[in-house]
Symmetry: C2
Subunit: 316 residues, 2 copies
């Protein structure tokens, strides 16, 4: 669609057409081929130390499964009440000895207290201690300067705007002034029942399939798996309804969950994630919109918010 | 955006604005809540026998792994040369005793001949028999009446139009007159090297993570897993580059792959898939755009092509 066409018309028609060109262009225009762009690896190799951000120990969970460790970064800025309750639960060792309850193929892996889900539990549900059993919904927030936003250029099926905020995939609606975390692969949320305040963070889930974006704004996302995703995605699928394990013996035990800041410094992992508000991140996005690897014959020139890699590395 | 606005203007401006309203509206407009819509289960319960299509035995592969059977429907209309070569390979029992070579988390599971990928293979690569070792690229096709198209209403980040064609997710570009299969979860493609004709269907992959749409038009998709996807998605991730298994002992053996039409009728499965060109399918799509389940507090009113379920059932 040639923008010049709209210049010949005027008044309301011109305004409407111009707005719509802006709105529609990313979805329609063929992308110009970008042949000299660096690859993602080249972008990362050229990154500066300041392009990286260490994980905050007070926002970092280690979940140890028999196969290995899952590292989760809490999204405190988007779900502060949930993050605080999860810190309390981890501090009390709430999840130690609990289990993976549900693995629904192409959807989610979910963990928590088997007794809270069982119809006829052998033991009573585990005490929440000082943690709260209900928390007000944290499904979206007001747009604010405290929530930075790096917008992606290619639009989105589900939301007016998408991009990244402190390393988390997010969406925004300028009309309502709201912003929210989005359900990409590896995002972690707090399972709930039918009432909005029924997910206190005791039972958590991670996305293991195609981004289930219909969950956005329906449930509180509380963070993201930054390392060890494979230990949640390669588990045997549950054969009961919604992927729950019919046979409790198939549930994978959780060895322990710890907040990094509850551990002595010598036991903490030193990980850092690529910042999403830098020219280096913009270059990384571009390297994925137009792959310059020799294998790619057709460069699509687009990227979906859930296809942008979010690199993590050991602190050099 | 109110369609009536465009009715007051005329000629080119009206045409441009109308086209753009159609193009842009699904990405921007808040969707009206649809509270009385049936659930997907209600849609399926009310379906007629004619809403379903039996799998064609000549287009159906059974891949038997130690954990269970994967059923793949070949997309003969989109990749006829590849489908024919794959039929030949199955007829010759090419894959029997070969292996899952690669499981890259959030991306693909890939299978084929370990000797074809190994640097120092113990055995020479398996003979392809009467099958071809190279096939011309089948990355896209001309739009034609032989390729039906049920368009989805909500747009797409990567393509001008998306929808379904005989049960497969597809995209179209009206400007180029081309259509192609898209890389949704469960889609199966023919791995290739850097030249476009280097993927004869001997080494196949299935998508196990977020739709890697950057692969669209870069490689031949040849079909879709219609049953048993969990046996490809729950495998241990490879720890080598690109998810290849460093240790060949970790590779999962393929017991056998058969084309259903090569088996006696008594050994064939009787499966049928929901047709994608019926009012019932349109109702199913609507049931997923606006979930009427009590759990959903916010109805997004949108759906991505890779989030539309494609039901399969035993023939009643």
């Amino acid at each position: 669609m040639d923008g010049k066409i709209t210049m010949k018309i005027h008044s309301l028609a011109a305004i409407v057409a111009t707005i719509l060109v802006i709105a529609a262009a990313p979805l329609w225009a063929a992308a110009p081929a970008s042949t000299s762009a660096p690859t993602m690896q080249q972008v990362l190799d050229a990154s500066k130390p300041s392009d990286w951000r260490p994980l905050n120990p007070a926002d970092t969970l280690y979940m140890d499964l028999p196969e290995g460790r899952v590292v989760i970064e809490l999204a405190s800025a988007y779900a502060p009440l949930h993050a605080q309750n999860i810190r309390t639960l981890a501090h009390e060792h709430y999840w130690d000895g609990l289990a993976i309850l549900r693995v629904q193929d192409g959807f989610v892996t979910q963990w928590g207290d088997p007794a809270a889900e069982a119809k006829h539990p052998v033991h009573p549900p585990r005490s929440l201690g000082k943690a709260k059993s209900t928390i007000a919904a944290e499904f979206e927030r007001e747009v604010s300067p405290a929530l930075p936003f790096t917008r992606l250029p290619d639009g989105d099926v589900y939301a007016p705007e998408v991009g990244f905020s402190n390393g988390f995939p997010v969406a925004r609606d300028p009309q309502t002034g709201k912003t929210w975390l989005v359900h990409c692969y590896g995002m972690v949320g707090a399972g709930r029942d039918n009432t909005p305040d029924s997910g206190p963070g005791t039972e958590l889930y991670a996305v293991i399939g195609q981004a289930p974006r219909q969950l956005d704004r329906n449930i509180a996302l509380i963070g993201r798996v930054v390392q060890g995703m494979q230990y949640l995605s390669d588990l045997p699928r549950g054969t009961g309804p919604m992927g729950f394990y019919k046979d409790p013996a198939k549930q994978t035990k959780i060895l322990r969950v710890r907040l990094a800041s509850d551990l002595p410094p010598s036991e903490r992992m030193h990980l850092e994630v690529l910042r999403t508000d830098t020219p280096t991140f913009a270059a990384l996005v571009e390297s994925r919109r137009n792959r310059s690897d020799a294998w790619y014959l057709y460069k699509v020139g687009k990227i979906d918010v859930c296809n942008v890699p979010l690199p993590v590395r050991k602190t050099p």
